[in-house]
């Protein structure tokens, strides 16, 4: 898109000189305002109101702000001020000409003392076009550091630290090498998440080690990061940097040359094979716990025509999968929830335009890339986007795990950074409270309005890890605080930031879930932000978030925190519909078989659909939910199941007027403050008509993601589909991708390719 470097564009694009008239108008307006303020101060601002009414509202508010200034100015000076304006006005007759059409803010009032202009002066010279610093800047340091040829096959995440000289240390991040280790160097497609020397320069870090640990797979010894460590110690970089080179451990080439040490000053780089040593199998299991589930099977329409499931807007699975793949590990199958991977991305489904009916389903039928003759039905819904002024006030309680297990760079420090981002993005009227839990739960900050942001940030900064985890106590305290500052009209939500380790306190998970569920009825919701790995309890995080009408997201990098807490803050914080259930009834006359891709953990019984007491997923402002069915239409020789011997052949005759439909979609939802569900319904037509280009492209992309997720789960239903096909399809459908998430996906697919090859 940009053929030029963006810095050059910013620096060198030259503004056209301003219109001399505009310049004069601005000058006159400003001077008039100046004179008026002086005059007002002369009259002790008593008659200021009358003058001000001639001004637009904005200017008036400025005057109010500057009243103190106006009062302070002395009367005499103001008189002189007016007097000296006169010669100036004479010089510029244009000052008194009638305001031009384009004029914005000047009042028609003129200083009473101004005599009619008698002298015409030369027009003010047009502005010169050159900005002050025009010379092109050479920025050699902004070039990403590329590894010299001949050393690329080294597998990541072996960070190689070279000390060229003590002042400048050049570092290649493992992901950079990872990128080059695959086929990327020829065509760089994704985020080269390298730590270059420039990055280190730009990071707000105090040491190279601290910068290095921003890359997944590298952990700096916490003492390096401890602010109490003396400056001298940090400067010498003598602390330990641990590279958890799990994948590298199995790389023979690397074993031959297991580590590179820096001569001086030496951060000791340890290849710690034992730390995240993967099991013999290719798949990583680690200590993270996931609920195990089987992929949805193919169903015969004649036997089971109705499919029901709950909406799922969580994205935790994608974050975890990404983290694993980035380290060169295939994620364990149960960590891959295909629907969460699909829903990680934002699609162009048209959003609804009223808060009352917050969805407008988009249904598109396309050919399936996974089997000849089969079709895909995409069902996309996008939640209503709350305009900023409709955003309710938020009453947030941050419940932060500070137990000893959070003492890892991708845990508590990342939590703090993420929370800072969140606070920066809140409005002044919102309130934030902070509760921590470890050996004992404690309130760090009472509910504080965001106006006093400094207070909140200071409280965040004091958090340090230590002790064991009393998760349940912390949750109780957090709810107490949330109730204390409860906002009837606003959003009341607890954000639980944890690595999922609840090993002290309520032992019974069910009890905890029940507690969260009861509080939900009172209007306090809970979202879970997952961090770190090793003992991540995805299952519990999911359960709590589902019971708390919240989302569960997994945050592995600050960039992800930015996506979740800033870009999509509306979605994470403001629920626009709860208990969203989807049901599709297939037409036995046109569809032989169907299979729902993903949503295994969200399946509902058919009768649950109309039962408002049954809980289901919630959708936040702007959230997109996408579901994909793969179907086998009749009259096609692509069925996966044998025909039933006893069922009527070739389907049942179509009901009246339904021969052109594959099925019928129903969506049930409740508005956030309602207990009664509403229904949206529409038929799924065989011929859906023309699909707008943006939607067609997103259909392609979501299909690629779905294919990838299924491959990671073993690819039982994807036929001959390979990672190559997925990458190609995703690349072609990448589209605008303003934040690079889709590129990142393509990179992940490539990483999965090599991870598998080991």
């Amino acid at each position: 898109m940009n053929k030029q470097h963006y810095k050059t564009v910013l620096e060198q694009t030259v503004a056209p000189p301003p219109d001399p008239e505009a310049r004069l108008r601005a000058r006159r307006a400003a001077v008039e305002e100046f004179v008026r303020i002086q005059a007002r101060s002369q009259a002790h601002s008593k008659d200021g109101g009358a003058t001000a009414t001639a001004l637009p509202a904005r200017a008036r508010s400025w005057m109010v702000q500057t009243r103190a200034f106006a009062l302070a100015a002395s009367i005499g000076v103001a008189v002189i001020g007016i007097a000296v304006t006169l010669p100036m006005l004479r010089e510029n007759p244009d000052l008194l000409s009638p305001p031009a059409a384009h004029e914005l803010t000047t009042s028609t009032e003129k200083p009473a003392e101004a005599p009619p202009p008698t002298v015409s002066a030369a027009p003010v010279e047009p502005a010169t076009a050159e900005p002050a610093a025009e010379s092109p800047r050479v920025l050699p340091r902004s070039e990403p550091f590329s590894p010299p040829p001949g050393q690329l096959p080294l597998a990541p995440p072996a960070a190689e630290v070279r000390a060229a000289e003590s002042a400048a240390t050049a570092v290649e991040g493992p992901r950079e090498e990872l990128a080059s280790a695959i086929d990327v160097p020829a065509k760089p497609t994704g985020i080269a998440d390298s730590i270059t020397s420039e990055d280190i320069d730009k990071f707000p870090d105090t040491s190279t080690a601290e910068s290095l640990q921003r890359v997944p797979g590298i952990i700096a010894n916490p003492s390096t990061l401890d602010p109490k460590t003396t400056q001298a110690a940090r400067e010498s970089e003598s602390s330990e940097v641990v590279v958890t080179g799990a994948r590298a451990a199995r790389n023979a080439r690397l074993r031959a040359a297991p580590q590179k040490r820096v001569s001086a000053p030496p951060p000791a780089i340890t290849m710690n094979h034992g730390l995240v040593e993967p099991p013999a199998a290719e798949e990583y299991t680690g200590g993270d716990r996931f609920r195990s589930f089987e992929a949805n099977a193919v169903k015969q329409v004649s036997a089971e025509p109705v499919s029901t499931f709950s909406a799922d807007v969580d994205t935790a699975s994608y974050g975890f999968v990404r983290k694993q793949l980035t380290q060169g590990l295939l994620p364990q199958k149960d960590a891959v929830r295909v629907e969460e991977m699909i829903n990680y991305f934002d699609y162009a489904w048209p959003a609804a335009d009223s808060r009352e009916t917050p969805f407008r389903p988009t249904v598109v039928v396309s050919d399936s890339p996974w089997g000849k003759g089969r079709k895909l039905i995409h069902i996309g819904i996008k939640g209503y986007e709350l305009p900023a002024r409709q955003r309710p006030d938020a009453n947030l309680v941050l419940l932060i795990d500070v137990s000893g297990s959070m003492n890892a760079p991708d845990k508590l420090p990342l939590v703090k950074d993420a929370m800072r981002l969140l606070v920066d993005n809140l409005e002044d009227d919102d309130t934030v409270a902070i509760v921590v839990y470890a050996g004992a739960a404690g309130q760090v900050l009472p509910p504080t309005p965001v106006k006093e942001k400094d207070k909140i940030l200071a409280a965040l900064a004091t958090l340090t890890p230590g002790g064991s985890t009393a998760g349940a106590e912390g949750i109780r305290l957090a709810y107490e605080l949330a109730e204390k500052s409860f906002r009837k009209e606003g959003v009341n939500r607890i954000l639980l930031a944890t690595d999922g380790d609840f090993n002290v306190g309520i032992h019974n998970t069910r009890e905890l879930e029940g507690f969260v569920e009861r509080k939900r009825a009172k209007g306090i919701f809970l979202s879970v932000l997952g961090f770190g790995q090793g003992n991540y309890r995805d299952e519990l995080a999911q359960a709590l978030a589902q019971n708390g009408n919240g989302v569960a997201v997994y945050i592995d990098t600050l960039n992800e925190a930015h996506k979740v807490l800033v870009q999509e803050a509306g979605a994470a914080l403001f629920t626009i519909a709860k208990d969203v259930k989807l049901q599709v009834e297939f037409n036995p006359a046109t569809v032989a078989e169907y299979r729902l891709v993903g949503y295994e953990t969200r399946a509902l019984k058919r009768e649950d659909f109309n039962n408002d007491a049954v809980d289901a997923g919630d959708v936040g402002a702007g959230h997109a939910v996408t579901a994909i069915y793969e179907i086998t239409p009749f009259a096609l020789n692509a069925r996966m199941l044998d025909e039933s011997r006893y069922a009527p052949k070739e389907g049942t005759p179509a009901g009246k007027g339904t021969a052109g439909e594959y099925g019928y979609l129903k969506i049930r939802y409740k508005l956030p403050d309602s207990q009664k569900s509403r229904l949206i319904e529409q038929p799924i037509n065989i011929d859906a008509g023309r699909v707008p280009e943006a939607i067609a492209r997103d259909i392609e992309f979501s299909t690629a993601v779905a294919g990838f997720g299924q491959l990671l789960r073993g690819g039982a239903y994807t036929g001959a589909l390979g990672y190559d096909d997925v990458a190609r399809q995703a690349l072609a459908a990448r589209g605008e991708d303003p934040f690079g998430y889709r590129n990142e996906f393509v990179q992940l697919v490539r990483k999965a390719q090599t991870a598998k090859g080991l």
Binding site: L10, P18, G81, F203, G740
Partner: protein
């Protein structure tokens, strides 16, 4: 030093000094506004607002920072106010009549507009950060002081910007 004298006089209520101050800085204000919005007439509007606001708030300038830094903050505030008022009042006017300037090559202008759009999409403060550091050549600390955020926030924003914009450039070449 002369500028300081001028400011002190204007703060004392001297309209002539104030007018001179405006004359001296109008181009700076206008050019920054232009880079901010990429549109001549809009930039002139913003510059005018900024000049008026300068009249009202000059008294608050305490010589604690460079005058231009203080001025940039004022212009940014005006530009943001302006943008909000545009969104509130007439939606059609924003995109209407993008002037193809005769001074900058048209291509450059298109890039700039694209870039501004992308920066806006990146989130609040991103555009301002990029402009102050890359277009005005300010240090992270200066930019932070102007935008009222910490130096590290500026660094972080630039990092994000580089990641998103730098990467897109790489694609256009590579693929």
């Amino acid at each position: 030093m002369e500028i300081e004298v001028l400011i002190r006089r204007a703060q004392g209520g001297d309209a002539e000094s104030f007018a001179e101050l405006v004359d001296l800085h109008y181009d700076t204000i206008y050019r920054f506004a232009w880079k901010w919005c990429g549109h001549q007439a809009n930039a002139q509007d913003i510059a005018q607002l900024a000049c008026i606001k300068l009249a009202a708030s000059l008294g608050q300038f305490r010589f604690e920072s460079a005058f231009t830094s203080w001025l940039y903050r004022l212009v940014i505030n005006c530009a943001q106010d302006w943008q909000r008022s545009q969104r509130r009042h007439d939606h059609d006017d924003i995109d209407a009549g993008e002037d193809v300037s005769t001074y900058s090559p048209a291509e450059d202008h298109i890039y700039l507009m694209q870039l501004l759009g992308q920066l806006e999409d990146l989130g609040e403060g991103m555009k301002e950060t990029a402009l102050l550091v890359h277009a005005q050549g300010m240090s992270h600390a200066e930019a932070g002081a102007i935008l009222g955020v910490s130096e590290s926030t500026i660094s972080w924003r630039l990092h994000i910007i580089r990641r998103h914009l730098g990467k897109r450039e790489a694609h256009s070449v590579g693929i």
